[in-house]
Point group: C2
Chain length 143, copies 2
C-alpha cells in the first residue's frame, strides 16, 4: 500500500492546489514511518517570496514537527526535480530519501552536477508524465 | 561614506549577534538606495531549521519590505560566501549586487561552478580577515 506512487499522488494533489492558485504547480510531502508529516506547494506568487518553493516550506514544516533540524528517516516526495536552492536545503537536512516525479533538465540540480547528502537515496520517474504535464499545461495557459 | 566597507560592517555586527547566540556567526544586510531594508543572521540552531541561513531570511524580509519578490536595485552584503542553497535563492531573486566578506572554498557556491543571475554583480574580499576569523574562532571554541 505505502508505495512511492501512493505518496507521490499526495504530492501531486499539492501541485494541483498550486495550479488552482495560479502558482507554478509543484507539490511535495515529507513522510516519516509511512506517515505524512508535512505537505506543501509552491507559493512564490502568493507570498511574494522566491524562497517559498514547496520543498523549502516542507523542510521547515517537517523539522518543526520533528523538533529537530535533521530529517533522518524521512522521505521527501516532490513532483518536479528540485532546483539549486532546494537541493542545497535538502543537503543540509540530511534527509534519507528524495523521490522525484519529473526531471527538470534546465533548472534542476542534477544537470548542475550537484549532489545531495551522501546518505540520501534518490529515486526519479515516479508519476513522471502527470508531474511533467501539469507544469507544461500551466505554462501553456500563461502564453 | 556609503562604501562596501560601511555596509559590510553592519553585516559583521549581525554575525557578532549570531556568535553571542551560539549560532555559526554569519550575518548579512540588504541595501536599497543606500538604505538598509533587511538585516539577518544565521538562526539554524535557534529555529531548528537548516533553511534559516542569514541570506534566506534577508531575502524574504527584503521582498516583504519592497512588496515584490525581485530584489532589483538591491545589494546584499554577507560576511561569508553563500552556500548552494543561498546562491540558488539569490539567483531566483535577481538581486543586482552581492558583496561577500570571506570566501568559503568548501561550502561556497563559487567552487561548485554555480553562478548567480546574469544581472548580478559579485564583489568579494570586503573585510575578509574579520569575516573569516569570527567563523574560525567559533569553530575553535566548539572543539
Amino acid at each position: 500500500m505505502f508505495t512511492d506512487e501512493y505518496f507521490m499522488k499526495m504530492a501531486f494533489q499539492e501541485a494541483e492546489i498550486a495550479f488552482e492558485k495560479d502558482e507554478v504547480p509543484i507539490g511535495c510531502v515529507v513522510v516519516s514511518n509511512n506517515r505524512v508529516i508535512a505537505r506543501a506547494h509552491n507559493l512564490t506568487e502568493t507570498l511574494n517570496d522566491v524562497t517559498a518553493h514547496a520543498e523549502m516550506q516542507a523542510i521547515t514544516s517537517a523539522a518543526n514537527y520533528l523538533g529537530g533540524k535533521y530529517l533522518i528517516n524521512c522521505t521527501l516526495y516532490v513532483t518536479l526535480e528540485p532546483c539549486v536552492m532546494c537541493s542545497g536545503a535538502l543537503s543540509w537536512s540530511q534527509i534519507s530519501k528524495v523521490v522525484i516525479g519529473a526531471r527538470d533538465e534546465q533548472r534542476g540540480f542534477i544537470n548542475k552536477n550537484l549532489s545531495l547528502h551522501p546518505k540520501t537515496e534518490i529515486v526519479t520517474g515516479i508519476m513522471e508524465n502527470e508531474c511533467s504535464s501539469i507544469v507544461k499545461e500551466f505554462f501553456k495557459s500563461k502564453r
